[in-house]
């Protein structure tokens, strides 16, 4: 009997001990030594107490370790292995060497920032600056941001910055500058120039009729004109609606469930026509991201895809080096409010925590990262658009995106309003996908949305 009990207990303890033993090889020695002990002696009640003890001891040295030694803390939206992170890391090293300001950069990744930033700020964690998407930073975390107007003026920041993007930052920041944009992006139709040429299309379409014409030519040449994935398909709906009645009106329709608005039916009819003429990929209904962009567009069987300017970088391994990217803004629709000058464009933005004790240094770092060499390096390594207007040379894959970006004057938010109502988004996507796949007609689409509103 004794033996059994011993073996049972010992076994659990032994595994803990052996495993932590191997674990102790690296820098984790103190942790394993300190905490493996209670397991071996197995005093049930003491275990939690033992855990807390070191924590309390350590608390005393905690503030000294970080708060006032002049290190900037930067929480980054990139994952450590991403090219953006590597470019930023490299530039930060150069920055520290140049200015003597130490920077503690934490690559939290998108989820890490999205889920963890606000709790950390609420808890008073020491964070000087962070970055994320322009809309999220300014709307979701707007109350935590330091107003940057003064700093920007003092440093003459705007002389070489993208004016349109800064204007966008002010717009979403409630009239004042609370964030500094970098890594701009634009959401438009991306296409395979080789297929366009083979089909005899000389210029990208600017109106809906030209668009239909282009689709027909591509279909005749034996290719799939349009493909998409579940992740982006709602933008087709949003863009078309916004071309017809403008983005604010589209957003109203989506938010209030005003599906009787005739623009909804008109949009649905336009897509019913595309579907009935066979302009969509055969598998459009089954395309789960990234199937459409990877297996159709990048493989060269489909010609056009409405997506962001990150697309060429995402599929470059599949598309190959000689893939030529074209880009055009969503075509204008007859009798519509908006033309090709309107699109969703934006950027990642840096922002400074209003509670930061080193705002000047933080701004210095932001300036360093978004201008000159650091900006060029980031653009090159991540195949992204440069933020500094002096960095006129865009990555080769994006050369044709520049004229589109430069022509934009009106900014749509994400999805051009199609995803403004989170309770409706999945329902819109489901039915719009069916519409594109031909298993639902225009009236059926409208009816389905109406039914869901109740």
């Amino acid at each position: 009997m004794k033996k059994k009990m011993l073996s049972a207990l010992l076994c659990v303890a032994m595994i803990a001990a052996t495993l932590t033993g191997c674990g102790g090889g690296g820098d984790s020695t103190p942790a394993s030594d300190g905490t493996a002990a209670p397991a071996e002696e197995a005093p049930a009640e003491e275990a939690p107490a033992e855990e807390e003890a070191p924590a309390e001891d350590a608390a005393e040295e905690a503030p000294a370790a970080e708060a006032s030694d002049g290190t900037l803390v930067y929480w980054s939206m990139w994952d450590a292995a991403e090219p953006q992170a590597q470019a930023i890391k490299q530039s930060i090293e150069a920055f520290t060497a140049e200015t003597g300001i130490a920077v503690d950069v934490q690559f939290k990744g998108r989820t890490g920032i999205r889920e963890g930033l606000q709790p950390a700020l609420d808890a008073g964690t020491n964070i000087d600056l962070f970055d994320e998407d322009i809309d999220r930073v300014n709307t979701t975390w707007g109350s935590y941001l330091l107003d940057l107007e003064e700093l920007a003026k003092a440093n003459d920041y705007e002389s070489t910055a993208n004016a349109g993007l800064l204007a966008a930052c002010r717009e979403v920041g409630g009239g004042t500058l609370k964030s500094i944009p970098y890594q701009p992006n634009v959401f438009a139709y991306f296409y395979n120039i080789a297929i366009f040429e083979e089909a005899g299309v000389t210029a990208p379409p600017t109106t809906w009729d030209e668009f239909l014409d282009v689709c027909q030519k591509i279909k005749d040449a034996g290719y799939t004109p349009i493909t998409n994935d579940n992740a982006y398909i709602s933008s087709l709906f949003g863009y078309h609606m916004s071309r017809l009645i403008g983005e604010p009106a589209t957003e109203e329709v989506v938010k209030n469930g005003d599906w009787d608005n005739e623009a909804v039916l008109k949009t649905a009819q336009a897509y019913e026509e595309l579907a009935s003429k066979g302009y969509f990929s055969e598998t459009i209904e089954s395309n789960q991201w990234p199937a459409g962009q990877n297996t159709e567009l990048a493989m060269g069987t489909a010609a056009m895809y409405l997506n962001g300017s990150w697309l060429p970088n995402e599929v470059k391994d599949i598309a190959g080096e000689d893939f030529q990217w074209g880009c055009f803004s969503y075509p204008a629709v007859e009798g519509g409010v908006d033309g090709t000058e309107a699109s969703n464009y934006g950027a990642q933005v840096f922002a400074i925590n209003a509670k930061s004790t080193m705002p000047e240094q933080a701004f210095q770092l932001i300036t360093y990262l978004t201008k000159g060499e650091a900006d060029a390096l980031l653009s090159e390594m991540s195949v992204g658009i440069p933020a500094d207007s002096n960095n006129a040379e865009w990555p080769a894959l994006l050369t044709n995106v520049k004229p589109v970006m430069d022509s934009l004057t009106t900014r749509y938010p994400w999805g051009a309003g199609a995803e403004a109502n989170a309770d409706m988004t999945p329902i819109i996507i489901e039915n719009f996908t069916k519409l594109c796949g031909g298993s639902l007609d225009a009236q059926g689409f409208v009816d389905a949305l109406k039914a869901a509103g109740n």
Binding site: P119, D122, S286, G415, S439
Partner: protein
């Protein structure tokens, strides 16, 4: 029983203490939150706006939330029947004295150890692919038209696809629980039964099954809990934005707490909290019902 009082206290205290330290504050906070309108989960209490039952009323009036509850119910019921059936079958075979038991067991459990992100990518981009998928290839090989043509990933069938992929991964987990339950049954029973001339199947029916009541209860409880928390697979099966076929209450909660997809939508952590409370209540109800059904009939051995 008097003598056992100290024992009860001493044995229970660490676990209950731990439980209180970790769960009590968040749970009470969550219940309170569900009656308020709150933008961020960690907002200070001073920023909360009391809204009574408004969050619950809004939930029940939202089509998408109803869809998410329906989805989770389908996963729980259909998935539960499939997974429990297969798990019990495999556990019975494993413990029937076959060779290479450990190898089989390890391999069946293996999908649980592989990252769900990789598994989901594998299912979506390979197995279910309408172009070169495994099911398509197998269907063509066997001349099963329906299988070759089946569109797993379109809005009409995405749920089935999700269910298949999820169940595949979960069988191993529940199999281990069943198997450990069977292993605990003494071999004397089977030896005696074999001497009496009972067949394997009879032994399973009259010895194994009745003695597995407790383990079955554990299995159903655990299955219900993992169903209630169904999140990762749903997200992986609808990248970036959620989908009517795959959305579950926890995904809905997530959208209300952190925003949906890439667009800036209204956030209300109070609604998220209300979802959490509802799920929790469901799980407790199932647990209590199970307790009643699988009452310990003083099974002893």
């Amino acid at each position: 029983m008097k003598k056992n009082k100290t024992m009860i206290v001493v044995f229970l205290t660490p676990a209950v203490l731990m439980f209180c330290v970790i769960f009590l504050y968040p749970i009470i906070r969550t219940i309170l939150m569900s009656f308020f309108k709150i933008e961020g989960v960690t907002d200070a209490v001073s920023k909360w706006q009391f809204s009574g039952l408004a969050n619950y009323i809004k939930l029940f009036n939202t089509e998408l939330f109803r869809i998410s509850m329906w989805n989770i119910f389908r996963i729980w019921l259909f998935g539960g029947v499939i997974v429990m059936g297969l798990a019990l079958l495999f556990a019975a075979i494993l413990t029937s004295g076959i060779r290479f038991k450990n190898v089989f067991r390890a391999i069946i459990y293996m999908p649980n150890v592989v990252s769900a992100v990789a598994l989901a990518t594998m299912w979506l981009q390979y197995v279910f692919s309408p172009k070169f998928g495994l099911f398509k290839t197998v269907g063509e090989l066997l001349h099963w038209e329906w299988l070759a043509k089946f569109q797993w990933l379109d809005p009409a069938h995405l749920f089935t696809a999700l269910l298949v992929a999820y169940c595949f991964g979960m069988v191993g987990y529940h199999m281990l629980i069943f198997a450990s339950g069977i292993e605990r049954i003494g071999t004397e029973y089977y030896e005696a039964a074999t001497l009496d001339g009972a067949s394997r199947i009879q032994q399973f029916r009259y010895i194994t099954l009745p003695l597995l009541k407790g383990v079955t209860k554990t299995n159903i409880t655990m299955w219900s809990i993992s169903s209630a928390g169904f999140f990762l697979w749903s997200q992986l099966f609808s990248m970036v934005v959620s989908n009517t076929q795959t959305i579950t209450p926890v995904v809905y909660m997530y959208q209300n707490i952190f925003g949906a997809g890439n667009s800036m939508t209204e956030r209300n952590a109070g609604i998220g909290a209300a979802v959490g409370v509802l799920l929790s209540v469901c799980v407790v109800v199932i647990f209590i019902v199970c307790d009643k059904i699988f009452k310990d009939d003083d099974i002893e051995f």
